[in-house]
């Protein structure tokens, strides 16, 4: 056995779910009285760390020789870990990787969806006068398309809770943290139309957050998403303020979209081009997963790649999944970045942004940010464009109410409804 490094999550907190970390390794050697770093042996190589079952061979990196190395690991949330290690010949060096967050979620709190309360209707619960729950999570279907200009009405309607929705969890007295594997199901024929679903998180009878839920994204073991939640206190004002994290359990795409949310394109590309990244992409392509395709489209749009190489594919994403707002945003951005003022591509990009506005809220937070930035760019180039100005006002109000660093749109309902209404 050559010298190797095995990456393991440390016991302080679980690096959960498993994630692809980007690893760079440089040999370190003395240079006179100073130290010098050699050329990197690996740059941004993916290593799989954390999650259950424990780490596999995918968490091992083989080194060319024994020696002293500087190892840098970059987490999807933008933090980095860097240390110097000495690896002996024939040794498998155990490298402990702490959780990027001090706040960890205990795995024991996780309950498979099959064991949760039976599916009931919240309207029925209300009618029998049940106490407002400390925490309630519902799956809210969106029957019709909700253009962004009508979002306020849609959110107000959900908040009024007159609708009949599927209850995923209902807890009278919740703890400080909550974890739940989310129900999922196969969607046959995304191209034939799709009923969007939102996760509505309520506390004491009021909807606190709406999360764009890519229902139908199926993981290797069926359910693809876990909802993690925490709050600061069980009493007082803080008691109703839940922080919500919708985590994609797939380590490859989970890492990719987390990097993408921060617009860290280089890292996202690194993950997508790894062997596991390519295999996962191929799997999703085969399964016709439009959500994974949208993530890939954003990556393509933000990357400095040639427009023509992916234009047809992105165009297909827009036309085949007419309910998906993310496709036109991604293609529009690519066209805008490749166009000149008043060119044909410029006008096409403008049309695509308007089309995405009509389709509703994108699934990805990065998409919303791109939409804001694109409309801002269009308006900077042509300050007399009143239509774009109007769209930008609506989109910015939504952007303000969304959690910036969550990969999937996580919409803070009280904040949005508290915003002044545009006249």
């Amino acid at each position: 056995m050559n010298a190797e490094i095995r990456f393991e999550s440390s016991s302080d907190g679980l690096l959960e779910p498993a994630r692809e970390l980007l690893c760079s390794i440089w040999p370190l050697y003395p240079d006179g009285e100073q130290l010098a770093l050699g050329d990197p042996i690996f740059s941004d190589r993916t290593v799989l760390v954390g999650g259950y079952p424990p780490e596999s061979e995918e968490s091992v990196i083989e080194l060319p020789r024994a020696g002293t190395y500087v190892v840098e690991l970059r987490y999807p949330n933008g933090t980095a870990l860097r240390s110097t290690i000495v690896v002996l010949g024939g040794e498998r060096y155990r490298y402990l990787v702490p959780s990027p967050k001090q706040q960890s979620f205990k795995n024991s709190a996780s309950v498979p969806v099959a064991n949760v309360v039976p599916r009931v209707l919240s309207a029925a619960l209300k009618s029998v006068g049940l106490q407002a729950a400390d925490l309630e999570i519902k799956s809210v279907p969106q029957k019709d398309v909700v253009p962004l200009k009508n979002l306020r009405e849609f959110v107000t309607e959900i908040n009024s809770s007159s609708r009949e929705n599927e209850v995923i969890a209902r807890i009278l007295t919740a703890d400080l943290t909550f974890t739940r594997i989310l129900p999922n199901g196969l969607v046959h024929g995304f191209r034939d139309g799709y009923e969007r679903k939102w996760l509505a998180i309520s506390s004491r009878g009021k909807v606190q957050a709406l999360v764009a839920y890519p229902f139908g994204w199926v993981g290797k073991n069926g359910n693809a998403f876990t909802l993690f939640m925490n709050r600061l206190a069980k009493d007082g004002v803080e008691a109703t303020k839940w922080s919500v994290y919708l985590k994609l359990m797939d380590p490859v795409y989970g890492s990719l979209i987390e990097h993408l949310t921060r617009r860290d394109v280089q890292s996202s590309v690194g993950i997508s081009q790894s062997l596991r990244g390519q295999a996962t992409s191929a799997l999703y392509e085969k399964e016709d997963n439009p959500f994974a395709a949208a993530a890939a489209a954003y990556l393509f749009a933000l990357n400095r790649s040639d427009l023509e190489s992916g234009r047809e594919w992105m165009g297909n994403l827009c036309s085949r999944f007419e309910w998906l707002p993310d496709g036109p945003i991604a293609l529009g951005w690519k066209l805008l970045r490749n166009g000149r003022r008043d060119s044909e591509t410029w006008h096409e990009a403008r049309k695509l942004f308007i089309s995405s506005f009509e389709r509703g809220l994108p699934y990805y937070t990065v998409g919303l940010h791109i939409l804001v930035e694109a409309l801002t760019t269009l308006l900077m180039a042509d300050p007399s464009d009143k239509e774009v100005e109007g769209l930008l006002m609506d989109v910015r109000a939504i952007d303000v109410a969304c959690v910036r660093d969550e990969p999937f749109i996580t919409f803070q309902v009280p904040k949005f409804l508290g915003l002044p209404v545009k006249h």
Partner: protein, 375 residues
């Protein structure tokens, strides 16, 4: 307009533009009638201190043989104008950071930077800032003097785009200001997007080679203790003088924007899992902006893998040059340690259920993490 260290000699040089705004007469508690929509933004005491600290560092310490210092443009707003004596003995009262002064200064700075493609252009701002989710507005002294609150604010994106026309290939922007989203900007998109320069190409794509280093993430606040140098500027100056280095061609220790961003991210990490200054989206090691006179130090975060052991742990390090002990119970413990070989350990007063083995390691800048395994 106030300019120090002006050098008209031929060849590449470094041109620095420093703006610090503490006095805002038209904001809360100012000396003039406050703007009716002042957003609770009030007078600041940290930015003038921070800008002065930056000015002193640039004037006295900045050393880049590839592009020697050739000008420092400065605007600082305090209730009483500040006077500064530069390393050449020039004494000047520093002009206030009003919009008109900014326009005059930025034009002069642009022209000087534009003279040579190998010039290094450094822009530093410390003061009030607000965001709209995409852009950041940097507020000059006379913010609020006109009906439109942001008439005297610099639109950072427009500024950067306008600087795309500048020949200086090496540019870095150091922005020490809040980026919290202001609702006024939400409903009045594209408010005066002024840069003080001729409008640039809005379609220009930045590839990360001329980065903006922010004191806060988008939508978040920046911090500083009143009357003291701000947190970001402290981290910036420590990075510049101690650790944000690489070794170009294996010769000397040079500071680059990229290494600076990593160092600042490490120095400002509050260990919440959400980086205050995310170090991402940057490419390569970047260009040299300063050369250290001697060997660097390393920002080190030492932590124990069992947090329960922390309360009774005495953590310490020892190198050839010096040793240090953790004085409080901060966990992780952040400290500077000289580059090179180092021993780190945690000791527990007997009787104790905990024990660690002394760790021998080699430290390399800009930052490193050390995890001590507790048995």
């Amino acid at each position: 307009m106030t300019t120090f260290r002006l050098d008209h000699s031929e060849g590449p040089g470094t041109h620095v533009f420093i703006v610090g705004v503490g006095a805002y007469p038209h904001l809360k508690d100012g000396t003039e009638q406050p703007h009716p929509k002042h957003r609770e933004m009030k007078q600041l005491t940290s930015p003038p201190k921070s800008a002065m600290a930056m000015l002193e560092w640039v004037d006295r310490t900045l050393n880049n043989p590839q592009a020697p210092l050739k000008s420092i443009e400065v605007l600082i707003s305090e209730p009483q104008a500040l006077t500064y004596t530069d390393a050449n003995g020039l004494v000047a009262e520093i002009a206030a950071a009003t919009w008109n002064n900014f326009e005059a200064s930025v034009e002069a700075w642009f022209e000087r930077a534009n003279a040579d493609s190998d010039n290094v252009a450094i822009f530093y701002f410390c003061g009030h800032g607000i965001g709209d989710g995409v852009n950041t507005y940097l507020l000059m002294e006379d913010t609020g003097a006109k009906k439109d609150l942001l008439m005297s604010a610099l639109h950072l994106s427009a500024f950067r785009v306008a600087m795309g026309a500048c020949k200086a290939q090496k540019q870095v922007y150091l922005i020490d200001a809040c980026r919290t989203v202001d609702l006024a900007t939400v409903f009045t998109p594209f408010m005066p997007a002024q840069s003080g320069l001729a409008p640039g190409n809005v379609f220009e794509v930045f590839d990360g080679s001329n980065p903006v280093l922010y004191s806060a993430r988008q939508g978040e606040q920046a911090f500083g203790e009143p009357g003291n140098v701000s947190d970001f500027t402290q981290a910036l100056l420590e990075g510049l003088t101690r650790c944000a280095v690489f070794r170009p061609n294996g010769k000397h220790w040079a500071v680059s924007p990229q290494e600076l961003q990593k160092a600042i991210a490490a120095l400002m990490d509050d260990f919440s899992g959400k980086p205050q200054c995310p170090a991402d989206g940057i490419v390569g090691t970047g260009f040299q902006i300063h050369v250290l006179p001697g060997p660097p130090e390393v920002v080190v975060h030492v932590s124990l893998d069992n947090e329960k052991a922390n309360a009774s742990a005495e953590i310490s390090y020892a190198t050839k040059e010096r040793s240090g002990i953790r004085m409080d119970k901060a966990h992780p413990w952040r400290t500077f340690i000289p580059c090179g070989q180092c021993f780190v350990e945690a000791q527990f007063a007997p009787p104790s259920e905990f024990n660690t083995t002394t760790l021998e390691t080699t430290l390399y800048p800009p930052f490193q993490n050390i995890l001590l395994e507790v048995e």
